[in-house]
């Protein structure tokens, strides 16, 4: 224990740190970095990713061109739906959105169209960071969310995911999104669309 007299002159920070220093056990080294044992072939990864994402409520749309995505969006979300597109490759059909500096303005967004960095086969999650979000609130406040991931950009497990993140540009905010927002708080009945997006459409792009 740190004595009462010492406590009086120490800040909480110093007090806490002093107590920890005194009480922490002898140093135990970190275990070896965990490697996944379930790497799998590329086709297996895609299959696993699709199966898992569908099981957690995501809708997977396999496409082999950007045009196919643009056409799908036009058909599924016709005007007056408010679509925010931040994907350069779709700009011909869906003009790139210019966002105001106020996330509250996004409350009326029907569909947000964003490009994920990569996805994870074992849990259906897509990694996306602030550089591609436009506004950090966008993927959470929109009614429907559509993410585009290239079939080549699926890693087997979360270990591979963090290895990949380490090699990419640093982020200020990043998130894994796995399916639509959901809750099972009422008698364990699954309800899709809690506070975030009610649906998640994943465009799985193969080819160019």
């Amino acid at each position: 224990m740190v004595s009462q007299k010492q406590k009086e002159v120490m800040s909480s920070r110093e007090q806490i740190l002093a107590n920890i220093k005194k009480n922490q056990p002898p140093l135990v080294s970190l275990p070896a970095a965990t490697q996944s044992t379930t790497s799998g072939l590329p086709d297996e990864r895609v299959h696993k990713f699709v199966t898992v994402l569908q099981a957690i409520g995501g809708q997977v749309v396999p496409v082999n061109s950007w045009d196919a995505i643009a056409a799908y969006v036009s058909k599924q979300f016709p005007p007056p739906a408010r679509t925010i597109n931040l994907v350069q490759e779709l700009a011909n059909d869906h003009p790139l959105a210019v966002l105001e500096n106020d996330p509250h303005q996004l409350e009326s967004v029907t569909l947000a169209l964003l490009k994920g960095h990569f996805a994870v086969a074992e849990n259906g999650a897509v990694w996306i960071t602030d550089t591609r979000l436009g506004d950090r609130a966008l993927p959470f406040i929109c009614e429907h969310l559509a993410l585009i991931v290239h079939a080549d950009a699926i890693v087997p497990t979360m270990h591979d995911a963090y290895e990949r993140i380490a090699g990419e540009a640093p982020y200020e905010f990043g998130t894994f999104i796995a399916g639509p927002s959901k809750t099972a708080d009422i008698e364990q009945s699954l309800v899709l669309g809690a506070h975030g997006a009610k649906t998640l459409t994943l465009f799985l792009l193969s080819g160019n």
Partner: protein, 463 residues
């Protein structure tokens, strides 16, 4: 301090008695939680290296505890470089004061809060309410218990003890939904509309922290509903509250913990959102409050420090035969179930002396724990500490002493056995009555005519 928060009225056994009065409800509660335990099993079995993963997580946490001083300093430095203000709170009271101070500076009174067991531990809501701050819990389950004026009964599933009809009634009263409508889809949609309004108008958002990375100064918050993200991204000020044990060394270790967390909690492969907050967005203020509240003291206890490895998944509750049949509120502490029962006495031994006895010591909790905390061993060790410090009830003490006396004398043991058998056979009401605690919810077994010892002596002579 924690100890002064509320006067303890009843112990676990008495509160469990109340819960047990409605047998159908107990069965329903039991089955619901067991269903989640089964989902956890299915999810775990899909990972070939699951056991290796648990061991790795446990070892990483061991390293954290042995190097916490360094990691906390590193984390603070990194977070400050990221533009985050870091605060240190020695106890619950200081934590509450810090959070209130930050809110006060903004001059607003409307706050949204996503799930944080730490703020439950510190009774932050009550404190802020007393200062005139209107805090709304935004997790659906937490909002339900908040509207009902109750604490959560489970750390992951706050209203697991509520039936949909009751929630329908509660929403009718507070949110104006049609009377008699108890459809979960409908009720969740009503809550979405109700809480969206709060998200849009609350300039301060409080969140918990699932993991804090020393290497990068970032924090990770996991939700399924998206309520933490929506709150933070629409607010000008983000206050993240965390216990000092939430630190992990490097970002890559998130790979281990995020694989374990949701699978252990609900059987999901991962939560819908796992958000990494490294820097506040331009114009936003981000605060992290590091809270000790007894943790640095616990670190010095070889027997009990492992409880600090907990990642708050709730798997030990879902599997616990006592929790499932007594309900979260019978634990009268912010964190119920086996893990709560080894954490609570560390904060207040007297008030929580009953909790380590709310267990059969079956060990199921330790077997499902993703960071391999020796929960049932600690429950057993707490019992001894409590007895030594005089916190065991007189009935239990007298009973144990009597048993020790009888068991240490073979003659007395044989005599007592014969007396007990005689009473059970000829005067059963002497044991089958409410004065005998073993008779509660049980029929006493039919006593045999003779003990094994008597039978053996008789039959040995024959051969």
């Amino acid at each position: 301090m924690e100890a002064t928060a509320e006067p303890k009225t009843k112990d676990h056994a008495a509160l469990a008695d109340t819960f047990n009065k409605d047998e159908a409800r107990v069965d329903w509660h039991d089955k619901t939680l067991w269903f989640i335990r089964q989902k956890r099993d299915k999810a775990a079995w899909q990972i070939p290296d699951w056991e290796h993963l648990r061991e790795t997580a446990s070892q990483i946490k061991h390293n954290v505890l042995s190097n916490l001083h360094h990691y906390l300093e590193t984390f603070e430095k990194q977070a400050q470089q990221n533009g985050v203000t870091v605060h240190w709170a020695a106890d619950a009271e200081e934590h509450n004061r810090i959070v209130h101070g930050i809110i006060q500076k903004t001059g607003i009174t409307r706050v949204v809060k996503s799930k944080s067991m730490l703020t439950e531990e510190c009774h932050l809501n009550d404190y802020l309410a007393a200062q005139g701050i209107d805090v709304v819990d935004t997790d659906l389950g937490e909002r339900i218990v908040q509207l009902a004026g109750e604490p959560p009964s489970h750390i992951v599933l706050p209203c697991i003890h509520w039936k949909k009809e009751e929630i329908g009634q509660l929403f009718h009263k507070h949110l104006g939904t049609p009377e008699g409508n108890s459809d979960p889809q409908f009720l969740a949609a009503a809550a979405r509309v109700h809480l969206r309004e709060r998200f849009m108008t609350s300039p301060v958002a409080i969140t918990g922290v699932n993991f804090a990375v020393a290497e990068t100064g970032e924090i990770v918050v996991c939700t399924n509903e998206g309520n933490a993200d929506l709150g933070v991204q629409l607010a000008d000020v983000h206050i993240a509250c965390m216990g000092i044990e939430k630190i992990i060394p490097q970002r890559k270790h998130l790979g281990v913990f995020l694989r374990l967390l949701a699978r252990s909690a609900t059987g999901q492969p991962i939560t819908t959102y796992s958000s990494h907050f490294r820097k506040p967005r331009p114009g936003q203020h981000m605060h992290i409050v590091l809270v000790d509240n007894g943790r640095s003291e616990r670190l010095g206890s070889e027997d009990f420090r492992n409880a600090l490895k907990c990642i708050r998944c709730g798997a030990c509750m879902n599997t616990c035969p006592v929790y499932r049949r007594s309900g979260g509120h019978s634990y009268h502490y912010a964190i119920a179930g086996p893990i709560g029962s080894i954490l609570a006495p560390g904060l207040d031994m007297k008030k929580n002396a009953d909790l380590p006895f709310a267990s059969t010591l079956c060990g199921s909790c330790s077997n499902v724990c993703p960071v391999k905390i020796d929960i049932h061993d600690q429950l057993y060790k707490w019992r001894q500490v409590l007895a030594k410090n005089g916190y065991v009830s007189e009935t239990k003490k007298t009973g144990m002493k009597g048993m020790a006396f009888v068991l240490s004398s073979p003659g007395l043991y044989r005599f007592s056995g014969a007396i007990g058998r005689w009473f059970s056979r000829y005067l059963p009401f002497m044991v089958n009555n409410s004065l005998n605690p073993w008779y509660k919810q049980r029929e006493m077994p039919q006593a045999p005519k003779e003990s094994f010892g008597e039978w053996y002596r008789k039959n040995k002579k024959k051969s």
